[in-house]
């Protein structure tokens, strides 16, 4: 009986290639098609993968890519850290005290609903073109998903487990430590994962607008000078950053809260 299950599964899957094979083949095919089309077109404002790769080598050798990447990462890291440090305690506090919730939810809803991009000119006007303004912008892009997810996580704690804690005469502090925060943790991590995606957007747009440094600045600069092969290098770096960071968070979520995934898979 026990061995029959995997055998049957193998039979079901026989003749179908694994998802990894399909994914890799699809990516190779897409890149290949782009390469061929780009070479045939041979337009100065179009480019293709091998040209982008060559441009990347040049930008790395001159140190230009590292320089701008570092500037961007500093902005992203500071903005995200501030958002985590402010968003989690604020989300917890809003979930804990209804008075605070009602006092703050007009601001939270209004700011979250406002396209944060619309705030860029005013932030730049107030804070200048330097790192400070960009950190504040990334913070504004990141803080709401973290705050709202923390709030939701605290609110969606299993009432039955709260009753268990009460039945064992736990103090309120112990209930937060042992029940509410652990149960909110997967939500908080998902909030941070969403915040990273938004933070990358905020970072690039802020760099477009301020146009002094960073990957966003690289993109604008090479677009203005029609160097499309170089233009794609920061885009690819941003893509890798996005995929890498959110993938990292996803793995962290699975490690920290394995029970969530077991329940979902059942």
């Amino acid at each position: 009986m026990v061995t029959a299950v995997p055998t049957q599964r193998r039979v079901l899957w026989a003749g179908r290639p694994s998802p990894t094979v399909v994914r890799s083949a699809s990516v190779l095919l897409g890149l290949g098609a782009w390469e061929v089309y780009g070479r045939i077109l041979a337009s100065p404002i179009f480019t293709y993968p091998s040209a982008i790769a060559r441009a990347a080598v040049v930008l790395v050798q001159t140190g230009e890519l590292q320089f701008y990447l570092q500037a961007s990462l500093v902005v992203l890291a500071f903005g995200l850290c501030l958002a985590v440090l402010a968003g989690i305690p604020l989300g917890v506090a809003i979930a804990r005290w209804p008075l605070l919730e009602h006092a703050t939810d007009p601001y939270v809803n209004a700011l979250y609903a406002t396209p944060t991009v619309a705030l860029i000119p005013i932030i730049v006007l107030w804070l200048g073109f330097q790192t400070k303004a960009k950190v504040v912008l990334v913070f504004l892009f990141c803080v709401f998903p973290i705050l709202i997810n923390t709030y939701q996580g605290v609110r969606s704690v299993d009432r039955r487990l709260l009753e268990v804690a009460r039945a064992f005469c736990s103090t309120e502090w112990a209930v937060w430590r042992d029940v509410i925060l652990p149960s909110a943790l997967p939500f908080i991590l998902a909030g941070i994962r969403l915040a990273i995606g938004r933070g990358l957007v905020g970072m690039v747009v802020a760099e477009f607008y301020t146009s002094i440094t960073g990957l966003g600045y690289m993109i604008v600069q090479y677009a203005n000078t029609f160097k499309t092969d170089r233009l794609f290098v920061p885009i690819v770096v941003l893509m890798v950053l996005g995929v890498g960071l959110t993938g990292l968070l996803r793995r962290l979520e699975k490690r920290i809260a394995p029970w969530v995934y077991v329940l979902r898979d059942e």
Partner: protein, 254 residues
């Protein structure tokens, strides 16, 4: 026989729903009392009131003569949904009550293994609840309750979510432990067989609002090993009697 718990004309309403009462009962020290009733009759509500988790709208509960106004350390509860913390290991779940009661680590390190062993959970200390079967999970729930050495154990259909065989095995385990440690047990169930197999006494509740309809001593000597007892004429007699009570009530409310 000393009286440990008294519920005195307890009434509970949830909005428009008249859930319970007036309901009065007494639980004697070291007694195994089973509470049975049709579904929705307020059995769980009664238990939560006895535990001090919710307050009755009228009436009062007294434990050893003092009124229950909130959860008490002398009382531990076992839940139908097990109530285990998914982010804690078996060890930490069993230790939960002890930590909540503020016992020092030295006591915890001595007691937790004892109750893990008592419930046959050795080797699973580092596992998480989702890695265990339902029966094993409820063993953790019972170990957690027993670990605080309560005088009163309140059990809310603890085996309701288990399959028939696991259930029978757990019933025997529970009686074995109860005979070792002589707690006062209030055991809510909707299974007539379970009530007769386990209880010194059965309180039969009526349909909503739950009131005590009958208070029956179970005069079958222990040990009551499942298969043998189920064939006894007295068992069948009691079973039919309780069944008639529950059925009459179900028909009456229709």
């Amino acid at each position: 026989m000393t009286t440990r718990i008294v519920a005195d004309a307890v009434v509970k309403r949830f909005g428009d729903v008249f859930a319970l009462g007036p309901c009065s009962l007494e639980v004697h020290a070291n007694e195994f009392l089973c509470v049975i009733g049709p579904s929705g009759c307020g059995k769980t509500t009664l238990l939560r009131i006895l535990a001090g988790l919710i307050a009755p709208d009228e009436g009062a509960v007294r434990l050893d003569g003092t009124e229950v106004r909130g959860p008490r350390r002398e009382v531990a509860m076992v839940f139908q949904h097990f109530g285990l913390f998914p982010w804690k290991t078996v060890w930490d779940n069993v230790a939960y009550g002890l930590r909540a009661h503020g016992y020092p680590e030295s006591v915890i390190r001595e007691r937790v293994p004892r109750y893990i062993e008592l419930m046959g959970l050795q080797g699973f200390e580092r596992k998480y609840p989702y890695q265990l079967s339902g029966g094993m999970q409820q063993r953790v729930g019972i170990a957690r309750a027993l670990a605080v050495d309560p005088e009163v154990l309140l059990m809310d259909e603890p085996f309701g979510a288990l399959d028939a065989q696991t259930r029978e095995f757990m019933q025997e385990e529970l009686v074995r432990i109860w005979r070792l440690q002589r707690k006062t047990v209030v055991f809510v169930t909707h299974s007539i067989d379970e009530a007769i197999l386990l209880g010194d006494r059965i309180v039969v509740l009526s349909g909503r609002p739950g009131r005590v309809r009958e208070d029956l001593p179970v005069d079958i000597p222990r040990p009551r090993a499942g298969e043998r007892v189920r064939a006894l004429p007295r068992f069948l007699e009691l079973r039919r009697y309780v069944w008639e009570l529950l059925r009459a009530d179900a028909e009456g409310s229709r």
